[in-house]
Symmetry: C2
Subunit: 145 residues, 2 copies
Amino acid sequence: MTIGKLGQAAGVKVPTIRYYEQIGLLPEAERSGGNQRLYSRKALDRLTFVRHARELGFTLDAIRDLLSLSDHPDQPCAAADAIAKAQLAEIEKRLARLASLKVELKRMVAQCAGGSIADCRVIEVLGDHSHCSTDHSHREGEGAS
Amino acid sequence: MTIGKLGQAAGVKVPTIRYYEQIGLLPEAERSGGNQRLYSRKALDRLTFVRHARELGFTLDAIRDLLSLSDHPDQPCAAADAIAKAQLAEIEKRLARLASLKVELKRMVAQCAGGSIADCRVIEVLGDHSHCSTDHSHREGEGAS
DNA sequence: TCTTGAAGCTACAGCAGCTAGAGACATTAA
DNA sequence: TTAATGTCTCTAGCTGCTGTAGCTTCAAGA
């Protein structure tokens, strides 16, 4: 299949596929007589994997690791496991943050109920530290509590 | 206060503050005799607002809008409200996606319980379309190259 | 068979949102 | 006074794409 079909099938844009090849995330594709890239089902699987991993929030580097692991399947999977666990922790952090931020945004919307900006708290809510869930303790050297 | 103190107080790195000034997100700071930036409490509030808004997932453009609204507080706050609502919707989408992806990652970790990569499903889980929430239709059975 | 229009090619520029480095000047504590 | 630290400007780099220009190839219709 050509690059356009591959992109449609995997849900990835064509320039992105070429970019992935360029940075070595995908192997160099075979070419047709007219120099066009040709892909196999296997390539589709790999690209689909990449897309899903990106959606999971893996960096391209982590994905590269994962792919190289899958290319050598006779190793213990501790490494893949470690990568996945790290990502899981990362995602749980993000989830918690997003959840609390959603509460703040809802408050913002609720407090901005038709008045003028002078009356509404949108700006203050975001300037206020009291709803600050993340622990940015304002001084680098200081340990987190 | 100088830029370093401001950065510490707001939880924002010094080059980032200068960057924000450069792109017009923060007003140009007053300077000391020695040409160093000096900030007021008001500037700290503004920067804190920016940091929180960034954490909420607002783009710098959205933040710019919000700030310009807050600079003209005699307007109705419908615009701020609209921005906040749009962000809220965006955040709820992200939350939903992250939540379902967390489930997948947990499955990945669970299925990779000490075997070798050949036995574990980390790779397959991410290549599998059956948990695919997004609607990228793709046809099966298109010939491999 | 010819033609046309979509899809492909390479190469490069640009985007957001920072971050890091070089080399010079300012401030501050001892 | 001197040394350390902080700040200055400027420039370049980073990730992960996305878009453009100017060309070639391919598939389908007349």
